[in-house]
Amino acid sequence: MAGETQVPSEPAGESVKALRCPSCGAAVTLRAKGQSLAVVCASCHSILNTQTETPTVIGDQGSARNVKPPIPIGARGKLHGETFEAIGYLRRSDGSGNYRWDEVLLWNPMRGFRWLHVYNGHWTLFTMLTTKPSREYRAASYNTQRFALFEKGKARVIAVHGEFYWRVRVGDETEVEDYVAPPFILSQEREGYDEITWSLGEYVEPEEIAAAFGLTTPLPRRVGVAPNQPNPLSGIGPELMQYVAIALLVVALFHFFFSGEDRELMAARFHYQAGITPATWISPSFDVYGTHGNVGVGLATQVEFDNNWAEFEVTLVDENSGATFAGAREISHYSGRDSDGRWEEGGSRNGIVIGGVPAGRYHVEIDPILGDGLRQVDVGVRAVRGAVVWANTVLAMLAILLFPLAAGMQHSSFESQRWQSSDYTPSGGKAE
């Protein structure tokens, strides 16, 4: 886009002028009288120069005449509290012709011109700047805000409708540089060496455009991430971390207030010798009290095994009902030496937590199974009511921390999608 924003002195209503097309004779409406230098005849699509007393033909759009503007010429809408009328439309493409976008010229006699860009269903409202942003290496600054260079390229006009404040022609080409700081975008257009225009754009949600202009036909769906599209998770960090801290605190409180008291019910030791002592060791009886909670049975061998193992089938028996709670745990210990030095794994202890044990009189039965070469074992057994299960608390905390992790990944993924279409990186580097 070229030219500068000017606020016309004419009040609304007096800025409309009717012309006659010198090519086909059709009536042509000029909506921004005194501002527009070119208008496209809606009938024969000739581009007319409106600066002369009698309009003269300065161009034609050729095959692009059937391109339809996303907002009809003459439509009015309220954006950011101001009413604008769509008076012009450009379809432009990059130098390669692969990327095409639409630009709608908006006009308000008191506010001047605005541009609405739409690309892949993403809308940006541009205002031309009268003060020049400062440029840095692959960045620009405006009003203390820093913008990162996003792309450089050419913009070529391939279709026009309506009227413009310069003598537009199909094929007009400018050099474009875009700098982003979502939801804002700074755009520089250079025509030749001396005509430079800066515009500041702000992302507009498509629903806002449809509502503003009363568009009934569905707008094109958004594809990908626009250079200046605000990241939906931008700025969530501090607030989300507050929520996370509260949730972690709740989990910690539940743990300290609801966890069992870990009270000892029974402690004993037994010696097992394969083929000599009975296959099952039976503990002394003990009472389990309370309406809910677990019973933990801890096992410890007197010495660590020398590269061997033993498995213990543990059965908690309700002496009144005969109901049993069963599970198995292994105690093993291995060690050795390799290229990294000495290694060791396992230990001499293990335990089992049996959930939902009602009150009653119980005993524990243990059936040891010994590894090859192991003939005997000395085992200490301890039963407790209300064994503290740290794993559930750790699991709950990890599950809560998973959410900010997912949010962080989503944020990064959005940003990487944004910068995929750029030749540069957010830090100002050149993308590979």
Binding site: H255, H292, N294, E313, G327, V353, A399
Partner: protein
């Protein structure tokens, strides 16, 4: 704020996690890992998919 929906989502998610944690802590349930390893389950009158998984 565009992220309000995420915060609402987190509130629901965190409430579910806290609810689960409160339940298992109150009940003294073994951890899911322990259950998968062959945790103790009630064999008579209760049952459970891990019951009977004793031997290597």
């Amino acid at each position: 704020m565009n992220y309000q929906r995420w915060l609402r989502g987190f509130s629901v998610y965190a409430a579910l996690v806290c609810g689960w944690h409160a339940y298992v802590t109150y009940a003294g349930s073994p951890s899911p890992f322990e259950m998968l390893l062959g945790g103790a389950t009630r064999r008579n009158g209760g049952g459970g998919i891990y019951g009977g998984v004793y031997h290597k």
